[in-house]
């Protein structure tokens, strides 16, 4: 029993190690994704191209503009353009917003209780427009407090941002990437490895032997479990040392939940390999059925709570939904086992269901 299993595992490792191209993809892809998400993909906005039209030309107006320019949020690209060019500037995307201070700005500040300044925002990207508006409102609020010490507000919100005080988006992405990478490696590689044997015809040969299907299944999945672990460890280590993503919770709990999640991915890959007969179809099926829902609907980027109710139900059967809560909880918040029981149970339930189904459906004939 163990001899057969061991030799299948050994053979599978040979396949992996001798296919240099695939091996490089397996190892380089997660690193690339991490660098991409860590450095390039960010939800924050910086260096927003801005045109300032100062019609007031007073110390007050210059003071306000300086307050704006001294942050890294806004980048002044032009100033004092005539009004008939505004449309043109936004159309050509020379600037994302135009700030207009009217000629009576300084005067109005002294006389009127309220002074209006105009901000034109290009909202073809609504997310960006939102950011621009928020940034400007914060900066003007600070300016108001500084210049008008008599200003009294009924109450002030004093936020304390926990678990990710600097609101770094890679704190959010690194755990998410681990979820995506584990799923991709475990589901995709397993299904391809099994379907390849069917496609090439070696499955027909090894089925006519004393091998038990369980031995084939376990023998083929263990190597990919190891690879999945290695890859996620790589991403976690890089995330920890390069991007300083904290690992506050228990490493044992992390390993345990990763194992549970890997098993889920493997059993899904197994299921795909049973219902498909060619590597290409298997690859497509895995990408469609795991990657898309994982990226779009699990909370990897978009929060589950803000999805339509129907999609929220769908997200419950996506393993990554639960794993994301678990891994973000463990890494950033130091969640303990007791905090994560519902998520871990869901994951175990999905894994148990998939593995039972795929073992029962595994064909030992060619019908």
């Amino acid at each position: 029993m163990n001899r057969i299993l061991f030799s299948i595992i050994k053979k599978e490792f040979w396949h992996i190690l001798r296919d240099y191209q695939t091996l490089m993809v397996i190892l380089a892809w997660p690193v690339l994704m991490l660098l991409l998400f860590g450095y390039a993909v960010t939800l924050e906005m910086r260096q927003i191209e801005t045109v300032v039209v100062d019609q007031s030309h007073t110390p007050q107006s210059r003071d306000f503009i300086n307050a704006l320019a001294s942050t890294s949020f806004f980048k002044m690209v032009d100033s004092d353009v005539p009004q008939h060019d505004f449309e043109h500037i936004l159309q050509e995307r020379k600037a994302r917003c135009i700030l207009v201070l009217s000629p009576d700005f300084a005067q109005s500040l002294q006389v009127n209780p309220e002074t209006k300044i105009q901000l034109l925002i290009d909202a073809s990207d609504p997310n960006a427009a939102n950011y621009i508006q928020n940034y400007l409102m914060q900066i003007s609020a600070q300016y108001n407090f500084k210049t008008n010490t008599k200003l009294v507000l009924p109450f002030v919100v004093e936020p304390r941002i926990l678990y990710n005080p600097d609101l770094k988006s890679y704190f959010f992405f690194v755990p998410g990437l681990v979820a995506v990478i584990i799923l991709l490696i475990s589901a995709l590689l397993t299904s391809i490895a099994i379907v390849r044997e069917k496609e090439v015809g070696t499955m027909e040969q090894i089925l006519v032997s004393p091998v038990h299907p369980i031995q084939i299944i376990i023998g083929k999945t263990i190597p990919y479990t190891v690879i999945g672990f290695l890859d996620s460890a790589l991403v976690l280590l890089m995330g920890h040392y390069l991007f300083h993503v904290p690992i506050i919770g228990s490493l044992w709990l992390l390993t345990f939940s990763m194992f549970l999640y890997i098993v889920t991915g493997l059993s899904f890959g197994l299921l795909i390999s049973i219902i498909t007969n060619s590597q290409q179809v298997a690859m497509l099926a895995v990408l469609m059925s795991t990657m898309l829902p994982t990226i779009m609907m699990s909370g990897f980027i978009f929060p589950v709570e803000s999805m339509p109710v129907l999609f929220q139900y769908v997200s419950v059967i996506i393993p990554a939904t639960h794993f994301l809560t678990i891994i973000r909880g463990i890494l950033l918040k130091g969640s303990a086992f007791a905090d994560l029981v519902p998520q871990l149970s869901y994951l175990a339930l999905i894994a148990g269901f998939l593995i039972t189904l795929s073992i029962r459906k595994f064909k030992t004939t060619l019908e």
Partner: protein, 308 residues
């Protein structure tokens, strides 16, 4: 009772359909211990289907197939552990070396390491693959691949081996060599069940079953089969055999006319003579180089049985 227990393969009224296609129609035959039994027929005759049912990879619709006296359908584990099976497609791992493939199949059948080493040595003697031990299987020639596949299958020394078109696409010299290996295996008591689409390989078998469109047309030793050929057979050499074939095809003078690589083969009743054929050719203004009476080959027999 022991005779039945020892009967390596017994097929009774085997029937199998794929949708609307009757792949195997009421096929019955048996293979005796230590013989080379060849199932011969063109592509699509049902050879692979029969073999896959025999090695328990497919289920028959009806009929019974037994391996060493045991019903295959009910004894899958016994069949798979004791039969040697070489599928039609090359089914070893191209990225593994010769040695690794052999070891892998030795391990699959739980052969102890020490015995594996002995067996590999013996298998290398006939396969002559020893110098290529460390070579990746994907880089072997077609003939070498087939010999390696055979060797892998022999790692557990099965008493009955099943080979599905093992010489398909292999060069003539390697084919000859491969058959020599099968011969020596049979001489040492191994039962060999082999399929082929090459009619000329029939003479290398102890007994032959001719199969066409899921029907077994005849089963016997190659000699007896050839003797069963009724009528007389003539070969007509021609520079344009296609034209001659088309013109003669439905001629009532002949029982059948077939196009062969070396010309046209004409079958007739006992009254047919070389001169009669020559006269007919001249009457139809067909050119010919020679007409001679010949002994039937397996292909002639197959074609005549096929048309019945």
């Amino acid at each position: 009772m022991t005779a039945i227990m020892n009967q390596p393969i017994r097929v009774e009224n085997l029937y199998k359909t794929y949708g609307d296609v009757n792949a195997v129609k009421k096929v019955s035959f048996s293979v005796n211990e230590g013989e080379i039994f060849g199932l011969i027929g063109p592509d699509g005759a049902g050879k692979t289907t029969i073999i896959r049912i025999l090695v328990s990879l497919l289920r028959a619709d009806s009929g019974r197939i037994s391996f060493k006296g045991r019903d295959v359908a009910g004894n899958t584990a016994f069949v798979r552990a004791n039969i040697g099976y070489m599928p039609q497609r090359f089914s070893l791992y191209p990225d593994l070396t010769v040695d690794e493939n052999l070891n892998f199949f030795g391990d699959l059948f739980r052969i102890p390491k020490a015995i594996q080493i002995q067996r590999k040595e013996r298998l290398f003697e006939f396969s002559k693959l020893a110098p290529f031990k460390k070579r990746r299987t994907g880089q072997l020639s077609g003939g070498m691949k087939q010999k390696l596949a055979l060797s892998c299958m022999l790692m557990h020394e099965p008493q009955v081996i099943i080979l599905d078109e093992p010489t398909f696409g292999v060069d003539p010299i390697s084919r000859e060599e491969f058959w020599c290996i099968l011969k020596s295996l049979a001489q040492n008591g191994t039962t060999v069940f082999v399929t082929t689409a090459y009619m000329d390989e029939a003479r290398l078998c102890d007994r032959v079953g001719l199969i066409f469109e899921g029907d077994v047309l005849a089963i016997d030793t190659p000699d007896k089969l050839l003797k069963s050929f009724t009528g007389s057979l003539y070969r007509v050499g021609s520079a344009s055999p296609h034209t001659a074939y088309e013109k003669l095809q439905n001629n009532p003078m002949f029982v059948s006319v077939d196009l062969f690589g070396d010309g046209i083969h004409i079958t007739g009743d006992q009254a047919l003579t070389v001169n009669k054929i020559k006269n007919e050719m001249e009457r139809l203004a067909l050119s010919y180089s020679a007409v001679s009476k010949i002994h039937p080959e397996m292909e002639d027999l197959f074609l005549s049985l096929m048309k019945k």
